[in-house]
Symmetry: C2
Subunit: 458 residues, 2 copies
Amino acid sequence: MKTLFLMSLLLIGLGLPVASEEKVADYQATADRIVEASRATETGWDRLSTLCTLYPHRLSGTRGLEEAIDWIVGEMKKDGFDRVTTEEVTVPHWERGAESLVVLKEKPETLAVLALGGSVSTGPDGVEAEILVVDSYQDLEAKKDQAKGKIVVFDVPFTTYGETVGYRITGASRAADAGAVAALLRSVTPHSLATPHTGVMLYDADSKKIPFGAITPEAAQHFHRLQQAGQATRVKLILETRSYPDKISRNIIAEIRGSQFPEEVVVLGGHIDGWDIGEGAQDDGGGSLMCWEALRTLSQLGLKPRRTVRVVLWTNEENGLQGAKTYRRLHDLEIKNHVLAIESDYGTFHPTGFAFTGQEPAVAMLQEIVSLLDSSVGEMKVRTPGGGADIGPLMAEGVPGAALTHNSKKYFWYHHSPADTLDKIEPKDFTDCVATLAVTVFVVADLPQRLPFGKPGD
Amino acid sequence: MKTLFLMSLLLIGLGLPVASEEKVADYQATADRIVEASRATETGWDRLSTLCTLYPHRLSGTRGLEEAIDWIVGEMKKDGFDRVTTEEVTVPHWERGAESLVVLKEKPETLAVLALGGSVSTGPDGVEAEILVVDSYQDLEAKKDQAKGKIVVFDVPFTTYGETVGYRITGASRAADAGAVAALLRSVTPHSLATPHTGVMLYDADSKKIPFGAITPEAAQHFHRLQQAGQATRVKLILETRSYPDKISRNIIAEIRGSQFPEEVVVLGGHIDGWDIGEGAQDDGGGSLMCWEALRTLSQLGLKPRRTVRVVLWTNEENGLQGAKTYRRLHDLEIKNHVLAIESDYGTFHPTGFAFTGQEPAVAMLQEIVSLLDSSVGEMKVRTPGGGADIGPLMAEGVPGAALTHNSKKYFWYHHSPADTLDKIEPKDFTDCVATLAVTVFVVADLPQRLPFGKPGD
């Protein structure tokens, strides 16, 4: 050891490069080794399958979520990480009960319906009323006189998630303001095979709280055409939901400690909570498990970066974001030492790079790093800006933040629906995501120069 | 009129071509006119929309089917056809009642399920049992010892419809033979978003009749993975079905009578019955209405072919084929005068030609005719062999038969499911199908030379 140390001093004196002055290009062989290792194992995939099979329903406040967390923590402890721990988070606890939508006619017809997260209950007797279909808030305003006592159906076609989801968030209050007794939403998705999608909704403080559920796009369009044909439709809607007192859930944390700057942290993670339908495979079982598997890959290879690499599996992303807020609070003094925060919450498709927000030199550095994957996984691009819900509180403080991006537009086909299941994920895509994350976080954590802190323009 | 007649005689005497000796190429201008006319109207599309909106459920024996038929006949009578009539057909009458599938666990979970057509009832109390998942009949044979008293789940991946549908037809009897109390089928589809698909099933005479339902591919795979993980799954299945005495339904017939050979008939049609879920848009509302609209287009243009063009909308294709069998019987003496029978029952996508069975010269003739559409609708190919369920009885007697083909592989995404709805059809595809059918039947019906009768090699 002493000899090596003396040799380093000597080399520094000669102005020659030393082991501690790698450039990004010097990591090509290591990157290739990481990619190869991530492809040589089925551990990550098998764990994803187990999560989807045995712990499919992971809604905040439920036993399902805590059982999933227990299992993950137990498995992580077998992986030889330097630290595996959890941090307590107070989360909301809302659950769906019996739910049904029956069209009342000579032969009653039962349609698929899902209560939206946070909706008040109709009670066991349900709500029976005629429906009024609108295709926008403007249309609701125009038909306001007809809404009183009705169940308003929002048949709003999908444009982008960001645009259309507004009706899911605020639709109940807008319908209530018009006098409706309940509301139904055309599920927020660009492609449906009679698929209902749930998701969180919120009530305005000043509006009456009415039950709010999601129906299939097909049903919404059918109701709409019936209305255009002058036919009244009467339905009976049951959404037996219940809100309980807050519960304690946990963020999961696993680390490889940095060899040189252990206090500097590269964070990567997804959210371990999910909805109470489907298997939460794309949202966000795959995203969570690929981060964990990326850390395990580095650990298995004995790669010990200069900085700490930390996986965080946040809880309660779906209906409260308390995991992210609590992490931000508990790590307050560490914020300036967060070198990079990566969130993986856009599914598990073939990776294409990152959507990133950081200073200009950081963008260039990250682009150089992900290009190490071009020859093995495929061309990688760093696009700007980017971010995510769980890393939002860190990014607000100046931590550079990145979302793993994919080449698929299918994410919202599955999102929050009973079709978010393991069969929708290609094992090779999962592996490529693992490799992309592992290479990126390793190089960011190991390079002599730190990724510049701060927001663009700081 | 007399002058024209004399001129014809004169031309015949001179050996010059006369109006009565057109070749296929002479129809290009007429074909273009037909295509243009089919694109210039929304009548057909509006009628398809009305069918899907007001008459979505058209299962044999139900009032829904007969109301659809009444509406069609009423509309057809406004179209100025030479004949609009119906022919009575005795059809089976089976209906689904309440149905549910609940996974029995700490928090019971309700999954989508559809009784398969013809299934016996579980009764209102349902069947409660553990499930046994198999992926093939071989696998069922291997697990025979475990099947007694269980609900057998066939998790058979989709290969082709023809291959996989066998499990839907005979699965219940095979499961009953192994001692199962009920059976569930992974829905027969290559793509699912938690979508169940129904369809007809049959019981072997020697086997016990047990209830048989379809679940989503996602649920079947989830059950399968749970079993592989060593976890037992107990479910409660309710399929309240009921079989009633046969009823009278109707085939619908509309015609433009031939000007020269009225006894010779070119038949085109689809089936007007459908399942009791979704809207029966692709199967076979679109196929039926495009045939009707093709006839209306010829009629509107005042095109009077030499032979009769007849639209037949068969009843009871889905669960009995009694419409086709009755048509064959009632038109027994006409069989040799059936020049061509076209069936449109593969959905409503962009047309690509026909799958045809007939003598070699007939194949060549049909190819020449459909090529009239190359410049307007797109390249058309006549592939061999081809046919369809409703024209099967005619083809068995030597009538040349053709199925309209499409360039989409999505048909079985929607088929027999609640996702078979109007929004899955592009209006332009519908129009192009109308044009393709109208041009083809007009030229076949009008050419001086008749399409050769008989099977290939006759």
